[in-house]
């Protein structure tokens, strides 16, 4: 028996696997038992209803995709009344992702969403900061910290800060949000990308730029998770390109306490179950009693020489 539980601050999860915000929905409950997940992270909620980006919203690559969805949202009341109740049947803690155009609006939104059934708040700080020329909060350590401080004042729920990877020094942003009181950091959101429809001399996405996600982003996001885990003491949740247990193990070993699975849910709707079962099988095979022991288990390379088997 492997002890699969992990602690994210005050919260104990039954296993380290959860969806990335915006990559699951009620549809998933029609394919699998959401009770098996470590947590349910819901799609980002904004203060006002939004329609999202004009189509086309996606471009597909060999090993990942570029999407410009733009956080369509029906607002916080709809979330509390219609979305949250759908997850009440499960013992799984619900993490509510929020985003807003100003620090104040972040605070008000989190207060409004700190209702029964919300176990933690994840701050999606990849959105444009209207107080700073629309530059994403997450691209600035100080702006990120301000959001977290306001959230901590506005809610008694644990606050997770979801970083953007589009930065020079992600460890600095992580240190800033940790100092501001974040209970955990999620590393990271999609990488800003674009594509051209060359036949028609136009952007391939209605929004021109979009978020690059999926397996091909893993090497870069993994490096960031490693840098973040070395920079802060709070738990780190890896999010980027996890498709199978092996990928999740990379994140755990570089120092993450848990992982989020995103784009691959669209391809294999039960991919998260495969990740959970695979991590457990790995622990059993290696004689590891608790998955927690994998966090930061990467050691420096030995000059390890194996004889060439014939």
């Amino acid at each position: 028996m492997v002890d699969m539980t992990v602690r994210i601050g005050a919260l104990t999860l039954k296993n380290p696997v959860m969806p990335g915000s915006g990559t699951m929905g009620e549809g998933l409950a029609r394919v699998m038992d959401l009770g098996r997940l470590g947590a349910i992270v819901t799609k980002t909620i904004t203060p006002e209803p939004r329609e999202g980006c004009p189509p086309p919203r996606m471009v597909e690559y060999k090993d990942g995709s570029l999407m410009a969805i733009g956080i369509p949202c029906k607002g916080p009341d709809h979330y509390v009344d219609e979305i949250l109740p759908q997850y009440r049947a499960y013992p799984t803690p619900v993490v509510c992702s929020v985003s807003a155009p100003t620090v104040d609006a972040f605070g008000r939104l989190a207060a409004k969403l700190s209702v029964a059934g919300v176990a933690a708040i994840e701050a999606n700080i990849s959105c444009p900061n209207l107080e700073q020329d629309g530059r994403a909060f997450g691209m600035d350590a100080e702006a990120s910290a301000r959001v977290v401080r306001r959230l901590k004042e506005s809610t008694d729920r644990p606050v997770w800060a979801k970083l953007t990877p589009n930065v020079t020094d992600i460890a600095a942003v992580a240190r800033a949000v940790a100092a501001a009181g974040a209970d955990a950091v999620t590393c990271a959101n999609g990488m800003l990308g674009m594509a051209v429809d060359v036949e028609n001399f136009q952007p391939a996405l209605g929004n021109v730029t979009g978020g690059m996600t999926g397996p091909c982003t893993r090497p870069v996001i993994l490096r960031m998770a490693w840098q973040v885990a070395r920079a802060v003491k709070i738990p780190v949740i890896g999010s980027g390109g996890v498709a199978c247990a092996r990928d999740a193990l990379e994140y755990l070993m570089v120092g993450c306490a848990a992982v989020q699975v995103g784009t691959i849910n669209f391809v294999h709707p039960t991919a998260m179950l495969g990740v959970i079962d695979g991590i457990e099988a790995f622990c059993r095979r290696k004689g590891i009693g608790a998955v927690r022991a994998l966090t930061g288990a990467m050691r420096p390379r030995q000059d390890f020489r194996e004889d060439q088997a014939a």
Binding site: R30, V31, R57, K62, G64, M67, P269
Partner: protein
Amino acid sequence: MSTALSSAAAGADRADGFPLAEAVCPVIAHEWVNDAYKHLVIEAGHGAARARPGQFFHLLCPVIGENAPFFRRPMSLYRIDAARGRLEFLYKVVGRGTTTLATLVPGDALNVFGPLGRGFDFAGRARHIVQVARGVGLATLAPVAEAAARCGIRTTAILSARSRAHLMSVASLRAAGADVLTVTDEEGTSEVGAVERLVRRAIAERGGDFLVTCGSNRLLQMLQRVGRELGVAGEVALEQHMGCGNGMCFACVREFRTAQGGVAYRRVCWEGPVFDLQEAVSW
């Protein structure tokens, strides 16, 4: 049956008790029906027991060389054979995914996810369906007549295609009791005005009281006009590029008219692919 192959895909076949399943299904038959379309039959007990006309499955097309479809490909049901636990698809080979899909031979395994989306909703609303299909719409509308007949609803099917070779499902529609009218570009009979006359006649002379369409924007516009004018309700099956096919990613939105007179985005995979005829914004 399909479980025997489940090791081919991580996470496949965990369906037990859930309405949707990712299942690895044996290919039973796979033939060209003309120069552009293939007819695919798979064994999929779980799906065949649940699927309804207008719904679709999300197919994981193989990765072969440069053709590496990352996401699944949506295909509507051409035939649901609940008795034998089989699903049939009729699809046009157009790009990366359909090219590799076309390489499958009987005995190969295909990973499918479904049934997905909202199908046609004519039971209790229609007594005589007039369906107008063109292109891939021929596949999507094919199962309507049979399902309609089961609820005691008659069908007049107007099929439009480039040439007679591209008219598909005529025999199966007739077998399901539909009156089938065909028009083609080749014969010069498929022009929108001509089709409109056939539609008006089916409504006026045969009691057509529900319009169903798929596959052509110009035919959709014509039916919206006729439906509005004559007060005949109807539905349209739409397409959009998809990520998840299951309402989660919001990639597949299109514009729709709202009750308030504005337009809003709706997900083709979740609120559709079948929508109210008048709410669809044609383009």
